[in-house]
């Protein structure tokens, strides 16, 4: 019990460090949010201006915008660590690797959750989707979806941050792995907006939760190898 509490404290400390760095002038989240907004506008250009068609495709837009913004966000969180060899310092701490992974993922999750909430609101406004009446299932989907992006993204960003072709490799590795989460999130969002006429919402949310759990465990189990090498 004590060991678990210690790991939790380490994780929170790592996440807090990232949050502080972000608040003290890096402001990467703001630019990532604007990026997500621009992606939504471009989707509107690609499929508009037919309002019915845009509303039907809105769940897909929502999650593609979140995933694209997620690539930038998790990359930023690890770039932070390459300055002044901070990654080596992090690896030298006498704490478990799992806790460090959990902390980085927690920081990523905080950023992703903020992006998810803002993008959900923007989708509701831009594509005339009624999000207020289904706020509970939609926010559950946003929490599970952004957690999955953060879990996978933290892992792959840690893997690619020291590579030459980082900008290409991160999405190339991350996006196919995220595909099942994307499917589940789009389906859950579509079902939630439509009022769940086929009673499938629970199954999709469960799929997302299972994905999150598997990827968090896989990330926690292997992140140590990344720090050591």
């Amino acid at each position: 019990m004590n060991a678990l509490r210690l790991e939790l404290r380490v994780a929170v400390a790592v996440a807090r460090k990232d949050a502080l760095a972000e608040l003290r002038g890096r402001h990467a989240t703001v630019s990532t949010l604007f990026f997500a907004a621009i992606v939504l506008l471009l989707f509107g250009f690609a499929l508009g201006p037919d309002a019915a068609r845009l509303a039907a495709a809105a769940p897909g837009f929502l999650w593609l915008a979140v995933v694209f913004a997620g690539i930038l966000a998790v990359n930023r969180l690890h770039l932070l660590e390459t300055d002044d060899d901070a990654m080596e310092q992090l690896a030298l701490y006498p704490v478990s690797r799992r806790a460090i992974y959990a902390g980085k993922a927690l920081g990523g999750f905080a950023v992703m959750l903020l992006i998810g909430i803002v993008v959900l609101g923007a989708v509701g406004i831009l594509f005339a989707v009624d999000i207020a009446s289904a706020w509970l299932p939609l926010s559950t989907a946003v929490v599970l979806g952004t957690l999955g992006v953060a879990a996978v993204g933290t892992f792959y960003a840690g893997l690619t941050v020291r590579l030459r072709a980082r900008e290409v490799m991160l999405p190339l590795l991350m996006l196919p792995v995220l595909a099942p989460l994307l499917l589940g999130a789009v389906k859950a969002t579509t079902a939630a907006i439509a009022g769940d006429p086929f009673g499938e919402l629970g199954a999709w949310l469960q799929l997302m939760a299972a994905f999150d759990l598997v990827m968090l465990v896989a990330g926690a189990a292997t992140y140590g190898y990344l720090l050591e090498d």
């Binding site: 099942p180 589940g184 292997t222």
Partner: protein, 237 residues
């Protein structure tokens, strides 16, 4: 020598099963000659999946034992797996065009799963080339290979549901080929092609593994040479 014999046996088996598949087995009643594509298609999809399983297991082996032979196996399997998976998708498209009327059927869960699988392992191979240090490369590649393998069942189920919650099974789905109610001739041809492709896979695996070991050796001797020449270049004190 034994490897060479295996190679000739595999070649003979593949040629024989090609002849059987094209000329001996009768054409399918519903699908006609297009159904003959199923034999190499199913067989290459099978060895593709086999390869990625081997890549993941070899990755675990490397993390556990730190023996670089495991890494050579992982590389060989991933490369051969990508080749066979690409071939399976290509064959599926050639079959889908006359049977479904389209090259790409979004409602076929197996096609989507296999396409994502190909993307995962092409990423794996590209990723391998970006790390110069062989030990680091082996570790990083092992992690990518293991996580990709963990992702495969989730991809499979999600894609299955994605279509399955609304749509009934597509007509002429590849299941029919393996259906035991099919005449024995079709089943025997399919199993024979599976065996022939597995033999060919084993031969290619051995050769690619040998090549990977030779590459690793050259990499190592170059590194030693660089260190030595840097030392001799130092002025004598």
């Amino acid at each position: 020598m034994r490897t060479r014999i295996l190679g000739f046996v595999a070649l003979g088996a593949v040629v024989a099963m090609t002849v059987v598949g094209l000329f001996v087995v009768p054409a399918d009643l519903n699908q006609g000659d297009a159904q003959r594509i199923m034999y190499p298609h199913v067989a290459s999809a099978w060895v593709g999946y086999l390869s990625f399983g081997v890549t993941a297991l070899a990755g675990i082996g490397w993390l556990w034992r730190r023996d670089r032979r495991f890494d050579a196996v992982a590389l060989a399997a991933a490369e051969i797996g990508v080749m066979f998976t690409a071939f399976a998708i290509w064959g599926g498209m050639m079959w889908g065009r006359p049977i479904w009327g389209v090259f790409w059927q979004w409602e076929d869960p197996r096609l989507i799963t296999t396409a994502l699988l190909l993307a995962l392992y092409v990423g794996y191979l590209l990723f391998r080339r970006l790390t110069d240090d062989p030990e680091r490369r082996a570790t990083r590649a092992a992690i990518v290979g293991i996580v990709a393998a963990i992702d495969i069942p989730i991809v499979h189920f999600s894609v299955e549901w994605w279509r399955g919650l609304h749509q009934t099974a597509t007509i002429g789905s590849p299941d029919r080929v393996l259906n035991p109610s099919a005449p024995m001739q079709f089943v025997a041809t399919l199993l024979g092609t599976l065996a022939a492709f597995t033999l060919a896979w084993a031969y290619l695996m051995i050769r690619r593994y040998q090549l990977a070991r030779a590459e690793a050796q050259r990499e190592e001797s170059r590194r030693v040479e660089r260190v030595m020449s840097a030392r001799t270049a130092e002025p004598a004190r």
